[in-house]
């Protein structure tokens, strides 16, 4: 030891700097790159790989690249031709969509909503979540598909589908920690439904007028169909009425249902002579059931006996019945079918005025389409996945078997066969004359496929909840649905958020497969551009650009999920 030794009293030794060989740049190099002979060799190999790759890539992508121009002649062909991307940029982002401001507004709304959600101490998060899950899809659908005379007759269907989705999501809201007692939220939710019912009622109205019902009858019908819901929603805003309403919840529900029923019946009497359309009583009954279904999820805490139990069943029943009525029942049930288009065409043809021109889905494309498919897929798959996961852990053998079979089937086949199935087999499954858009069929396929994966993610969360939580919930006297909704699922879903994000990343990457069934997503657009006769030979630039786009999305999401995972681990 060359250093001079100095003695200190016990406990008085000061902190000293470590020897230079252990820290600093030299220490770092020694430890990390040259700690042994094998390490030196590895370092040299790595440096050689970098030397082979990096300068070439930089030269190709930046130094020798062509940046400005409008035609392929502007590319000197030494390096990358970014002119290609520049020229095709709009198509890559939006496809052939004509009015991109509509998409941009939807983007803006989404981004603002997301930013608000991520502000840690933001007080109105629940509202934002409700907006994003319930209102936003409707706004986006209107913006994207357009709202014009040409497609008004399709709106009852769309509204039905959207409100079905909204109801399914509403039923999930308690899981997000929104309690029924937060009456303001409830009121807002109901207020959202009022215009919805209003709209479907008003389409009934227009149709009623067409068939010769007197206007006053149609007007009264609409008023009756919407008024009870509005009243209920407004009443819920005041605390003294709120208690009263919750106390007589089921009675009120029945009153609302009856009034709605009558409301729908009034204009529909005029229809009776229209051969081949859905009988009015079916419509009326449906309307009653619809309004019941809309409020039934909020009756969780009332111990309502048989009527309560039945009302809960309305949620699934609603979807089926709504389908029967509005899409037309299958022939074998012999109801006849409702043909909106044929009967209403002359009326709508007269309405030439347009507000938002309709945009057919074949015009949709690029990154926009990718986002539409991925986000719809994930939002739709979450509720289905939760139901499947609960079913898989159920004690009822038939339900368990059905869920296991469903999950394992979709997880066992490649997405491409699912897409083939939705494009080739789906039309065969539907009754004659019912045709779904190609995009809708793909969405259904994607949603079912990812629901199976989502179910497994959620199941993982359910399994991670300690048995004590279930026992404690049961000891408090909670029934199965209450236990799941208030105790287990909120915890389980929180646990699996990283898993959900990972599923979303997988889904996001998998959306590229839709180009095989002829939809032009982000990659599909790049492929289309690269096969354009004027721009042959720039495929690599297209792939690098789209690859970079996908990478940014997926990488940032995976970082986010890792961050959440870390937070969860330290949070316990």
């Amino acid at each position: 030891m060359s250093e001079k030794k100095q003695h200190y009293e016990p406990g008085k030794h000061p902190d000293q700097a470590p020897p230079v060989t252990a820290v600093g740049a030299i220490g770092w190099l020694r430890q990390n790159l040259f700690s042994s002979w094998s390490n030196v060799v590895l370092t040299i190999v790595a440096l050689y790989i970098l030397y082979q790759l990096v300068p070439g890539v930089i030269k190709w992508a930046f130094i020798d690249a062509d940046w400005v121009g409008t035609t392929r002649q502007d590319c000197s062909r030494e390096g990358a031709c970014w002119v290609f991307i520049h020229v095709w940029f709009k198509q890559l982002m939006y496809g052939r969509y004509p009015e991109i401001w509509r998409i941009n507004i939807a983007y803006l709304l989404l981004v603002v909503g997301m930013i608000l959600l991520f502000i840690p101490r933001f007080r109105w998060k629940h509202w934002v979540a409700v907006f994003l899950l319930v209102v936003y899809p409707m706004i986006a659908t209107v913006l994207f598909t357009g709202l014009s005379a040409g497609n008004i007759e399709a709106w009852p269907y769309r509204l039905m589908v959207l409100s079905a989705l909204a109801i399914a999501i509403l039923a999930l809201l308690p899981l997000l920690g929104i309690r029924r007692e937060r009456s303001a939220v409830v009121a807002i939710l109901l207020l959202i439904f009022v215009p919805l019912w209003g709209l479907s009622a008003s389409s009934t109205w227009t149709a009623g007028l067409l068939y010769g019902a007197p206007p006053w009858a149609a007007f009264i019908g609409v008023l009756l169909a919407t008024l009870p819901m509005v009243t209920l929603a407004v009443a819920l805003m005041f605390s003294q009425w709120r208690t009263l309403i919750w106390e007589h919840f089921w009675q009120l529900c029945i009153v609302v249902a009856i009034i709605t029923c009558v409301g729908f019946l009034v204009p529909l009497w005029a229809w009776q002579d229209t051969a081949g359309s859905t009988p009015p009583w079916v419509m009326a009954l449906t309307a009653a059931l619809l309004s019941l279904a809309a409020i039934s999820p909020w009756g969780y805490e009332r111990d309502a006996g048989l009527p309560g139990q039945l009302a809960r069943l309305l949620l699934p029943a609603y979807l089926f019945i709504a389908y029967l009525v509005f899409a037309g029942p299958p022939d074998f049930l012999n109801f006849g079918s409702l043909d909106w288009t044929a009967n209403t065409e002359p009326f709508f043809a007269s309405l030439k005025e347009t507000t938002l021109p309709e945009v057919e889905t074949p015009l949709w494309g690029g990154l926009f389409l990718t986002l539409v498919i991925a986000i719809t897929g994930i939002v739709a798959s979450l509720p289905i996945g939760i139901v499947l996961a609960l079913g898989r852990r159920s004690h009822m053998p038939i339900i368990r078997a059905v869920c296991v079979g469903f999950i394992e089937f979709w997880r066992g086949v490649p997405l491409i066969t699912v897409l083939f199935m939705s494009s080739v087999m789906f039309p065969l499954f539907m009754p004659e004359g019912v045709n779904f858009d190609k995009l809708v069929r793909a969405l259904v396929g994607v949603a079912i496929f990812s629901a199976a994966y989502m179910a497994e993610v959620v199941r993982g969360g359910l399994q991670a909840i300690p048995k004590g939580q279930y026992e404690a919930a049961q000891a408090l006297g909670l029934s199965y649905p209450k236990m799941m909704v208030f105790i287990v699922l909120p915890q389980a879903l929180k646990l699996v958020i990283p898993g959900i994000v990972n599923t979303f990343i997988g889904l996001f990457k998998d959306t590229t497969l839709v180009l095989i069934i002829g939809l032009f997503d982000f990659l599909g657009m790049a492929q289309l551009a690269a096969t354009n006769p004027d721009w042959l030979g720039f495929a690599v630039e297209g792939y690098v650009f789209t690859g970079f786009g996908f990478w940014i999305f997926c990488f940032s999401m995976s970082r986010y999920s890792q961050y959440l995972e870390k937070k969860l681990h330290t949070g316990h």
């Binding site: 430890q31 990390n32 790159l33 700690s35 390490n39 590895l42 370092t43 190999v45 790595a46 440096l47 790989i49 970098l50 006996g305 048989l306 139990q309 069943l313 299958p330 022939d331 074998f332 004690h395 009822m396 053998p397 038939i398 339900i399 059905v402 394992e408 089937f409 997880r411 066992g412 086949v413 490649p414 997405l415 491409i416 066969t417 083939f420 199935m421 080739v424 087999m425 065969l428 499954f429 539907m430 009754p431 004659e432 990343i505 990457k509 590229t512 180009l515 095989i516 990659l523 492929q527 495929a539 690599v540 792939y543 789209t546 690859g547 996908f550 990478w551 997926c554 990488f555 995976s558």
Partner: protein, 400 residues
């Protein structure tokens, strides 16, 4: 309520039967019947519609079509196939092509993935960072995009046969594919595989003997190095003695294309490249998680018992890491197999392209064909996950 309860106590009446909708057994039964009924209704609805639609469009149903002549050719077939063969034969060709690309992809992805995973844990900063960058880049880019990159971006841009890229004048890479010499065994060739067989048998025997000897005397034997010597040495000796009984059929440029040799079509090369490079990133992460999943205390305990790094790895770390690695690894294998169906996008004649593509177009029997295709993938998945469950049960660590 309270009064009723009291009365019941006093009189000790048998408890009243709960109303039928509050009896959990009836409830369960009711829900299940409801679900089952719904499903049956749905099935009836779908089958009814499908039958009606098929009848209307005049599409035949049933599986007779499998016996009919296909009338199309397939660019790559492992079993002999021509246009006059049946659709069933075409199905087999597609299935075999799917299996081939999957198996080769799995082997390459495993090798590459393990190397990457270990590289990412390397103490060498540069190697670890390189591996990280590779993994984080490729796993976040869609597989189909990578497939297109390799196929349309690279392999389709290659020069024609006349300007092939030549490696050592034996391998030729051009737009038609990768041409390599094809080995043609000569008389006496069988000595070489025989020697290999003997070597393998020898190694098994050696390993058993070495283990027995160690159990009895404690002496250790360098099994690994001897095995390596045997497996290389014996076939080498056999080759030398028999005078290299293997001829190579070199590809030669004749007219516009190469003749002879072994051809790997570009679709195959692109698919294998994309599948294995992409899946390798996931395998790398699994391997890394597996190794990190064995707590550092295990290594420390083994070291403090005097075990050296190599036996520590072999006896303590790897057996535990494998338990963590194998289940997700299998699901990656399944993913790779399912992803091989992307072949359809670059026209590699796999099951989906041949059967769910061409055959479906020709016959129009969507239900049967998509059904069979899905059933094949489902069978593969269920078989492998069944095996996996069995393995997991067997290998699970025994806990209280």
């Amino acid at each position: 309520m309270a009064a009723e309860k009291k009365e019941a106590l006093v009189l000790a009446k048998p408890p009243a039967k709960p109303p039928i909708w509050n009896d959990p057994r009836y409830r369960a039964l009711f829900f299940q019947v409801l679900v089952l009924g719904g499903i049956i209704l749905l099935c009836v609805f779908l089958v009814h519609n499908t039958l009606a639609n098929l009848a209307r469009q005049g599409i035949a149903s049933g599986f007779e079509f499998l016996g009919r002549t296909s009338g199309f050719s397939i660019s790559m077939h492992l079993i002999s196939y021509a246009e006059e063969n049946t659709y069933f034969r075409a199905f087999l060709v597609g299935l075999l092509n799917t299996l081939l690309v999957s198996v080769i992809g799995i082997v390459l992805a495993t090798i590459f993935g393990f190397i990457l995973g270990i590289a990412r844990l390397s103490k060498n900063w540069l190697i670890a960072k390189l591996a990280t960058v590779y993994i984080e880049t490729l796993r976040n880019i869609p597989l189909l995009l990578q497939l297109f990159f390799w196929y349309f971006g690279i392999l389709r841009q290659l020069p024609g046969p006349r300007n092939s890229i030549a490696l050592f004048d034996t391998f030729f890479l051009n737009i038609r594919g990768l041409f390599s010499p094809q080995p043609i065994p000569q008389p006496g060739f069988w000595w070489i595989p025989a020697a290999l067989g003997v070597a393998i048998a020898g190694i098994i025997f050696l390993a058993r003997w070495a283990r027995k000897r160690q159990e009895q005397t404690g002496e250790q034997f360098p099994v690994f190095w001897t095995s390596l010597g045997l497996i290389i040495g014996l076939p080498l000796i056999a080759t030398l003695i028999t005078g290299f009984p293997l001829k190579w059929n070199y590809p030669e440029l004749q007219g516009f294309n190469f003749q002879g040799g072994l051809v790997l079509i570009p679709e195959f090369v692109a698919l294998v490249l994309a599948l294995s490079l992409y899946t390798a990133t996931f395998i790398a992460e699994i391997v890394r998680a597996g190794i990190l999943g064995v707590s550092h205390g295990q290594t420390e305990a083994a070291y403090s018992l005097g075990l050296r790094p190599t036996p520590t790895l072999r006896l303590v770390i790897i057996p535990q890491a494998l338990r963590i690695i194998i289940p997700p690894l299998t699901s990656q294998y399944l993913n790779l197999t399912k992803n091989s169906s992307l072949a359809a996008a670059i026209a590699y004649p796999d099951l989906v392209l041949v059967f769910a593509g061409t055959v479906l177009m020709q016959t129009g029997q969507a239900v049967e064909i998509i059904g069979i295709t899905m059933a094949v993938y489902l069978t593969i998945s269920l078989l492998i996950s069944g095996l996996m469950n069995w393995y997991n049960k067997k290998m699970a660590l025994v806990e209280r």
